[in-house]
Symmetry: C2
Subunit: 494 residues, 2 copies
Amino acid sequence: MGDRRDRGALTRRRRTVTICGEAGASSKRNDKSESRNLSAYCEQVQEPLRSKEDGLKDRISCHRLQESLLSSESGYSNYRGILNWCVVMLVLSNARLFLENLIKYGILVDPIQVVSLFLKDPYSWPSACLIIVSNVFIVAALYTERQLAMGRISESIGTFLYCINLIAVLCFPSATVLTLTSMTPVGGIIALVVYTVVFLKLYSYRDVNKWSREIRHIQARKLSRSNSCPSVQRANGNAAHSHVTYPGNLTHRDMYYFIFAPTLCYELNFPRSPRIRKRFLLRRLFEMLFLMQLQVGLIQQWMVPTVQNSMKPFQDMDLSRMVERLLKLAVPNHLIWLIFFYWLFHSSMNFVAELMQFGDREFYRDWWNSETVPYFWSNWNIPVHKWCLRHFYKPMLKRGVNRLTAQIAVFFLSAFFHEYLVSVPLKMFRLWAFMGMMAQIPLAMFVGRFLRGNYGNAAVWISLIIGQPIAVLMYVHDYYVIHYGSATEGRASP
Amino acid sequence: MGDRRDRGALTRRRRTVTICGEAGASSKRNDKSESRNLSAYCEQVQEPLRSKEDGLKDRISCHRLQESLLSSESGYSNYRGILNWCVVMLVLSNARLFLENLIKYGILVDPIQVVSLFLKDPYSWPSACLIIVSNVFIVAALYTERQLAMGRISESIGTFLYCINLIAVLCFPSATVLTLTSMTPVGGIIALVVYTVVFLKLYSYRDVNKWSREIRHIQARKLSRSNSCPSVQRANGNAAHSHVTYPGNLTHRDMYYFIFAPTLCYELNFPRSPRIRKRFLLRRLFEMLFLMQLQVGLIQQWMVPTVQNSMKPFQDMDLSRMVERLLKLAVPNHLIWLIFFYWLFHSSMNFVAELMQFGDREFYRDWWNSETVPYFWSNWNIPVHKWCLRHFYKPMLKRGVNRLTAQIAVFFLSAFFHEYLVSVPLKMFRLWAFMGMMAQIPLAMFVGRFLRGNYGNAAVWISLIIGQPIAVLMYVHDYYVIHYGSATEGRASP
């Protein structure tokens, strides 16, 4: 059978040979047309053969010399998918934690209980009253400025009055919070935050008005000689551009616009957005309300149980369990912080700004890409950063303080305010927050020295994710020790 | 006091005025040099004033009209940091899981216990013997080919012999595994994997040799007429380029090179790498050994306890707990799978390839970026994918089967082999693996229809992360039910 096929193939081959042979012979007789026909015939006979052969050859050779993608020799670097992987993994593992938490504790979210954080008895609203009182200091500052503007009091007296006013802004509320028993910690924190903001705003208000007076002096001097020196015209021209000029800004309206505006730096003519975008406003409002609820829910459902569970190990000073608890707390704490950031700096501030047509919406920069600790601190909270730069850091440099000292001073200031905002409402002075802020300086030096690029970025993230829960646990622990006492002996025996 | 200062300022101003006035007057008298001096003098007087004024103006204006980065109006889109964030969060949360696991179970890693997975008694090595026996089938295939090459037996007889051989390759080991009591599941799986690989390789070996014979026929036919038709020369030329031509490849050496080479597709002339890179080889070897240990450790320390804990909920059919267990198992299972992928497809295969100077290192493509399910299946395991394409999918298309049917057939084949490799060693036929593979078809359709880009990618990841542990739990559960029986009644009462 095989032989027969072979024979058949042979005969077929012989036939084509003879034909092509003839073609060859005929073509030798230089008879163009005929040879063309015949060579065309040969092509016809061979075309299918060759194409089939090529097809088989293609099928047979299926390997080529090449490196694996993951080996460094192949310059491959497209790992888009990895980001999705990370996100999926995070979502799934946190979904699991949520489920575990629900199975363990059931639903703990309780909107009513939240109110008790702000009020002890519903007939006294201490923090609210305290906040209303703050208007006194604001108006006081305004009138001081007016006196200065009219030249009724000298600069030095103005400075003196301001010092009293500003010191009062910091001391009065803290004294109230510490003395009033009906004040809840949360209420106290809110009141103190408001007063701190007022303090920073008034400080800026004073500086800017002082500068404006100086400009007024200079311009007055130059005006008088503008007829002789043409160059002065231009300078005046610039000054004339602004809508409000110095003494004209000392109105209640202007003052309160500044007080409610989402910035700490005063300016005579804030940039204004052309119109109020309704849809933008509504979206921000929705975010505000929703994220507020979400935060409260997460704290009640996730933070509180974890913190309570972590009291025991912290009393027994059981290290491995302490670390485990810390890491367990780190995740919800960090998520809540992220939500808080978005809620405050994007939703709320944009909402207020849109409402007031306040133009400058740069409340934060891209701190999430920060590769050094200072970059993070100078980009996550722009209002405060701007204030520090304008009213604290630069003036120090002007006075000839060197950069490093000035930077450390800024950290020191913010450390002070952190401590102020935590210790006073909790009525315990532990300096954890203060040390937490000051610890940023060595951390910054370490990261800046040893870590670059993504490693630096990762280090910043780690410091955020781990650093906060440590401070939280410290305060909560001490708060427990003081108020529920049970932990004292546990802590006495490490 | 304030008045005195004002008066001082006035006098000063008056003085400068007079000076500049004179300057103006003198310049009118076209006395160049003098006017130049005087105007220069004016500049001198005013320069500090203007610079000071500009400085103050800069300090005062510190806001500009701009949007927040996160609001869509600002075309900002640099979230490099987020990837680092994800990585840090993953590392920290998994570190916590590890710590929790250690606190709970202590150290469970035990290299000795691993051996018991492969051997029941150290004097009988059933799977090892089974693997050695596989050479019989390999040599049989080689001799069949030789007979065919010499034309001693016809194609049809060759096909018949091959069928017997290949069926034997699949049936003999499975029969052995099912009958031998001394065979452990792990040992059985290894043996069956080896035999499956041999099966696929021999199938490819046969196809390629068949194609080579066809080419030989065609070339013989064309050779005979090469004198007349010049075009044939070229075709021959191409054929002559290859180092080994058809009958010359039927040697033991060539056969065993193919058997050990990290590919399933036979080729007469594999691309060869120029030299063995010692450092590359050592790095891969180190990876192989280290990752092997890591996998074993993770399975013992993390998988086993989780799986054992998840038996109870699965008996009680407690849904919420089942899901919680599933998600808890998903993470280690997925990590181990990823390590396994790298260990097998990058470290091991590259090690073997480097050792054999096998040129084609494309063992996987960028499946991690796959946005559709088929893309994943056709890129994560290139040797198998290549085989399916070359010896199963394309031949079907040639026979006129339409694309979709052919694709489904491929999934069906791989589903069969998945089931074969799991059911036989575990000695229970549950079709979970089979259904798992077949479930890919509706999944693929769903993803392809509704999800694009990153969503598709995320869907693929989820199917990987969730799909596998479901199958694992199914098999483990049933294995428990059969071998430890305790679960039967628990399962009977959902």
